[in-house]
């Protein structure tokens, strides 16, 4: 693929480039390409049937300043900085945004893989996961302050850094607040296993910050469980296919005590310290049909920082740290159950 394109910034300035090889995960709402002439940029070509809607969305994206830089100097949102048009007929096809990749960034789902994690982040502890979760909460807070709703808040839309930083991608899928018109452009799709009950279904309608609060709770729980989804697990009476969303409908969360079968070597169901378990219960139990009861991102960030300050070390493995109120090391328990050491930094 080497199509010639125009990059058109918010002031209408044009530069030309050519699409290079496609990258990224398959099957998203579009395809992502590197550029021949700009290694720091990716282009997302969107497969939208409605051209007018695409134009409105990209105009809204470019109308907002791109200053999404976090404390560490890295972007926390890969905000688009130019519209992308075909050079031959000037048709709008997508947008250009910062490229995220190694050695600074990695896609979060890759870090859920214990083999890849051991290679890419040797020596990390549970602190890294608590930090990622806290940073994620802070980024979602910043998104909300600007009037947007992430909508499809899920691991595939999150990149992470080795220091626990977070950057959100695929901004075009947000419920975007258009600063020019004051209109909220709808979020077209969200993965059901992260979607709040009130917006599950074929026509979800407008989303509130509280629907992000549901997704954030699910994602925080998944992060601190190293990738194990809080609605993972098989009900003992299951006979047919089971997915996370089935457990959502039945209000069966393994971390909140539901009777679900899980792999013997999975992260222990009683892993969470009280401060996080309480928040999770508010979000998923009380918050199931009362969205306002869900803790917001600021509350999650505070709870995660609190939990990180109250860890103890394992006497056997120096990379094993866990909540102070636990009597035994959960990571040693996983190893004893047959899992690979989740933090294989070496044993004492």
């Amino acid at each position: 693929m080497s199509m010639h394109i125009w990059l058109v910034d918010r002031d209408g300035r044009r530069v030309t480039d050519r699409l290079d090889t496609p990258i990224g995960s398959v099957g998203s709402q579009g395809r992502v390409f590197r550029l021949r002439g700009r290694p720091d940029t990716v282009v997302k070509v969107l497969h939208r049937v409605d051209r007018a809607e695409l134009a409105t969305r990209i105009r809204a994206l470019l109308a907002e300043p791109t200053d999404w830089t976090g404390q560490a100097g890295h972007p926390v949102v890969a905000w688009p900085y130019a519209a992308v048009r075909r050079r031959d007929d000037d048709r709008l096809v997508g947008y250009a945004a910062p490229w995220l990749g190694p050695p600074l960034f990695a896609p979060l789902p890759l870090l859920f893989n214990p083999v890849a994690r051991a290679q890419m982040l040797p020596g990390i502890t549970w602190v890294w996961w608590l930090t990622v979760a806290e940073e994620l909460a802070r980024v979602v807070e910043a998104v909300h302050q600007r009037g947007h709703v992430v909508g499809d808040l899920a691991p595939v839309n999150v990149f992470v850094t080795a220091t626990g930083g977070v950057c959100l991608i695929d901004v075009d899928g947000w419920q975007l607040h258009d600063p020019t018109t004051g209109v909220d452009l709808p979020c077209p799709f969200s993965r059901p296993e992260y979607t709040a009950p009130e917006v599950l279904g074929p026509a979800p309608g407008r989303r509130d910050h509280s629907s992000d609060a549901w997704a954030l709770a699910v994602l925080v729980a998944q992060l601190v469980c190293l990738g194990f989804h809080p609605y993972g697990g098989v009900p003992p009476d299951a006979t047919g296919p089971v997915e996370e969303v089935d457990n959502v409908h039945l209000r069966r969360c393994r971390l909140l005590g539901a009777d679900l079968r899980a792999p013997a070597a999975a992260v222990p169901a009683d892993l969470l310290p009280d401060v996080l378990r309480r928040r999770l219960s508010e979000a998923l139990d009380a918050g199931f049909d009362a969205p306002a009861a869900r803790p917001g991102p600021r509350s999650w960030a505070a709870a995660l920082a609190y939990a990180r300050d109250r860890l103890v070390g394992c006497p056997i493995a120096p990379t094993h740290v866990y909540p102070r109120e636990r009597r035994h090391c959960p990571w040693c328990a996983m190893v004893a159950a047959g899992a690979p050491d989740p933090f294989p930094g070496g044993r004492r």
């Binding site: 398959v26 997508g94 600074l104 890759l110 990738g227 194990f228 989804h229 993972g232 070597a265």
Partner: protein, 250 residues
């Protein structure tokens, strides 16, 4: 934590862990490939279609394995061919078994032998076998490994018309279409069918429904394999595949 830490290089080696324990779910993708005589007879850019397919598979498989470390980490493939040698499992150890280490392999370790073309088009028997295998695998993984298993994905590729083992046209696809319809409603089956020139459109539409059937205009096997990868991804719908088959964005 070192504020300047960077990610270490990730190896390209396949996953060493035999059955990943900390993922909470598995998804099963059955890939059914037509290897009947027409794949040897049809030419694509001066090469036999089956040779082009093998060539493109060597480019495609590393991409699948790379995705298998991330986005397709919870996917297990079973690959069934129908044509040369009848209905054959060509993934894993090549046996028609849903046991661990048999026909199903994680995306991160998917490999295939060189495919050969010849013989009839026992498509119906191949789909029946795939349905049986994914159901057995679902029960095994859910019961023995306590991992969630959603609905299976069937991806059918053909350039012909279903026949019996001897090459006689058959109407067996009609009851199969009814079975597939039942699977869609009760077992969350999602089926994608790709037809390359020479295919019987009526059969493919009946099996995969009109929305799940994609007729390709030419024998572009690289594009076909890319579409298969899209059809493999989580939460993909027919419209997304359709836009990539027929879209004119690029």
């Amino acid at each position: 934590m070192n504020p300047f830490a960077l990610f270490q290089d990730e190896s390209e080696e396949p996953d060493a862990i035999p059955f990943v324990t900390d993922t909470h779910r598995r998804r099963f993708v059955a890939l059914l490939i037509d290897t009947s005589w027409s794949m040897a007879a049809t030419q694509s850019n001066g090469m036999r279609a089956i040779d082009v397919l093998n060539q493109e598979l060597t480019r495609w498989l590393p991409t699948v394995r790379a995705e298998g470390r991330g986005a397709l980490r919870d996917v297990e493939f079973v690959v069934v061919t129908f044509g040369a040698g009848g209905v054959r499992v060509v993934s894993g150890d090549g046996t028609a078994s849903a046991a661990d280490g048999a026909a199903f392999v994680p995306a991160s370790r998917l490999d295939l032998p060189t495919l050969t073309a010849g013989g009839a088009t026992p498509m119906v028997a191949a789909v029946e076998l795939a349905l049986d295998l994914v159901e057995q695998r679902r029960q095994h993984v859910q019961t023995v490994h306590a991992q969630q298993t959603g609905g299976p994905r069937l991806i059918l590729v053909s350039d012909g018309t279903p026949t019996d083992d001897e090459g006689n046209p058959t109407d067996d696809w009609r009851p199969l279409a009814r079975r597939l319809e039942q699977w869609r409603s009760t077992r969350r089956l999602q089926m994608f069918a790709f037809g390359v020139p020479g295919v019987d459109d009526e059969v493919m539409r009946a099996l995969a429904t009109p929305s799940g059937y994609f007729a390709l205009a030419d024998l572009d096997l690289r594009k076909l394999l890319d579409l298969i990868l899209v059809a493999t991804s989580d939460h993909v719908d027919f419209d997304q595949v359709r836009s990539q088959v027929y879209g004119d964005d690029l």
